[in-house]
Subunit: 175 residues, 2 copies
């Protein structure tokens, strides 16, 4: 059965989710500004039942957080770019991690492929990009960078909770 000592807010195992959970997750990922009554109607559950499930999903870490997504241009950051960073040996150095402190940096992933790290950045203008590149090149071990400036964004949505029936197809052996 389930382990009930989930005091720690983060749990990164694939959770056991039934069809109700997946419907709730899909609805909240699309719009978190919904009342439990509205959610309940959509998924076929009473408001308190939905509330209890959402509470569980948050506590177990399936729902990481609920956030307002802002329009980059409106907040003065019309320029989005992906930056590939090539570093010696392996990418994760404490020094490189300091780059994450810039509010312009939204994502930072170590990757397999001919780059050590991929960053997603959003900023005001090319000058800000130039400055950030300077900061990154100043990190010991960094060989080079490649920047890809976004011209148009055709899709930008959060993680989708698929509500297909047979899911999850294969790999979970949990309970």
């Amino acid at each position: 059965m389930e382990n009930t000592e989930d005091i720690r807010p983060k749990r990164r195992e694939p959770a056991a989710l039934d069809a109700f959970d997946r419907k709730i997750l899909a609805a909240l990922a699309a719009d978190a500004d919904q009342s439990y009554a509205a959610l309940g109607e959509k998924v076929g559950l009473s408001p308190p039942a939905v509330h209890e499930r959402v509470r569980r999903l948050k506590r177990s870490g399936v729902i990481r957080d609920v956030v307002a997504r802002l329009d980059g241009t409106s907040v003065g950051k019309p320029l989005t770019a992906f930056m590939h960073v090539e570093a010696a040996g392996w990418g994760k150095s404490e020094r490189l991690m300091q780059i994450a402190r810039f509010p312009e940096v939204e994502e930072m992933h170590s990757v397999a492929g001919d780059a050590s790290m991929i960053l997603k950045v959003r900023m005001e203008n090319p000058q800000a990009l130039e400055f950030l590149l300077g900061q990154i090149h100043a990190v010991p071990g960094v060989h080079g960078t490649k920047s890809y400036i976004a011209l148009s964004t055709y899709l930008d949505r959060p993680v989708q909770a698929d509500v297909t029936v047979g899911w999850p197809a294969v790999p979970f052996s949990s309970e």
Copy 2:
């Protein structure tokens, strides 16, 4: 809460935001599960005043939406990747846009640089990636792809609303 129906959901001008607006945006981008009373205390405004501003910010499109961010692993998608697509001429074809219909595809940007399009995808396993690659290569005009599989994600946060004074003045202060 209520989801205000947007008559024109997209408006992409830089909005005129004062210090209160920026504080509210920063707070909501970090955690949208706050009462207007709590927000008001943080920014120094009464609950109704905050409510009115949030309403305005949503209606004007500064706040695109409010969503629950899900943990990829928990919903059965532990594999994140960035895909660069090289296409003939220019990347945006109706056929390529169909790729966005897969729930695995979360972002899709046309870019400047030696790629036509960058996709952020999240999926169950390498087989799903292989399938998606097949779909993309089947699109007329696509020359090739390069995939970068994320090994670790060190940072993943929404657009930040900078609350520095005099914003947006000089890009950065030194570190």
